[in-house]
Symmetry: C2
Subunit: 195 residues, 2 copies
DNA sequence: TTTGCGGGTGAACAGCCGTTCAGTTAGCGT
DNA sequence: ACGCTAACTGAACGGCTGTTCACCCGCAAA
């Protein structure tokens, strides 16, 4: 046996990334072997190297793709007028977008340390860019006089940590719908930053 | 060579746990080998098995010790009268205690999945107990009429995520002192939950 | 129908993994 | 001074690691 019947790179490539994401999120990058990923795809380990130069590059591709998607989606998100409306948009967007991509979000927070210095810096830069989006809203709100913050940097980190935390406990079909959670979190954020 | 000069289990035992914690926090449980831990201690890999039955038990011991310490320290923390004072005590305690034990906190959040089901349940139970402490404060405050919360469970998770997030960015000797950070976070929490 | 190559296989590489164990020595109670 | 045991070594176990490579076959274009 050599080539599989009906095999195409447009199919195998995405499947490798999907299975890698699932396994990395479930067991951790270091705990998952290339052979496990290959088995999940239904292929031999050597075939993975037609799609990635090495294991770390596979992880980096997942993280980079996620962060690019996050920034692109936020850029296209309708935001409304004024800092308050923009903050609400951010809160709801962050919760929604992250809940829909729980595995990728998990990876982006947990497996950064498995990247080499250059790759790490790239992802860290994208995260920083995203954080700066929120901080800009908070600063604008302070300038408008609708927010009262002792420190915009701390408020940024606090809000993001709080919002991202939803991913650790939210289960679809649970006591609360995603929309309800968005509303409650927005309420807490609104009060925390209001003048 | 066999026994080292000046070797004692009261010395080697704690050193193994300390080095394991440092390495697990730095590189991740799965990425650290028993030989690496042993080398950091200055001992051969086999010697570790005089102190732990296996690698997972070593991790479990670290997590269990941390969670026990956390609960014991909170039990002894002065809390003042009324829900507001108790909430402030919790906020300041959580930030302070966690910042002083960054590695253990990191481990407790990241490496839970490397535990078997029974060990996992133990740590998860202790964490639940800790969360319930905060939720009780929030509920009491609502009964007192000093807090206004749409959902005490969500508020609990939101506050803990927000506070624990400090560990991801805080650096001693940075722009803000620990006390300042405590005060700012307490201010945000206070506003977020206030009636 | 033949040809080229994209998409694989499967074996091999050197090296590391967690764990066990027989052997060896340091320190301590007697 | 002697013996016992706590503390540790170093080698070995089978198995797994990421990665490479020579080889092979199915599919599409000529």
């Amino acid at each position: 046996m050599a080539r599989k019947t009906g095999s195409h790179s447009e199919i195998t490539g995405p499947r490798i990334r999907a299975e890698a994401q699932r396994l990395f999120a479930r067991h951790g990058f270091a705990a998952v072997s290339m052979r496990q990923i290959a088995a999940a795809v239904g292929v031999q380990a050597g075939a993975l190297y037609l799609y990635t130069p090495d294991k770390e590059a596979l992880l980096f591709d997942l993280l980079k793709t996620h962060m690019d998607g996050l920034l692109a989606a936020w850029a296209e998100e309708p935001k409304g007028e004024g800092a308050r409306a923009r903050l609400e948009a951010f809160v709801r967007f962050h919760i929604r977008y992250n809940l829909e991509r729980a595995e990728a979000v998990f990876l982006s927070y947990m497996e950064l340390r498995n990247l080499g210095p250059e790759n790490f810096a790239v992802i860290e830069g994208l995260r920083k860019t995203y954080e700066t989006e929120l901080e800009a809203i908070l600063k604008a709100g302070q300038a408008e006089g609708v927010f009262d913050l002792p420190d915009s940097k701390l408020a940024t980190m606090a809000i993001i940590a709080m919002l991202t935390g939803v991913n650790t406990w939210f289960r679809a079909g649970g006591r609360l719908s995603r929309e309800t959670v968005e509303a409650i979190y927005w309420d807490m954020v609104r009060k925390a930053v209001s003048a």
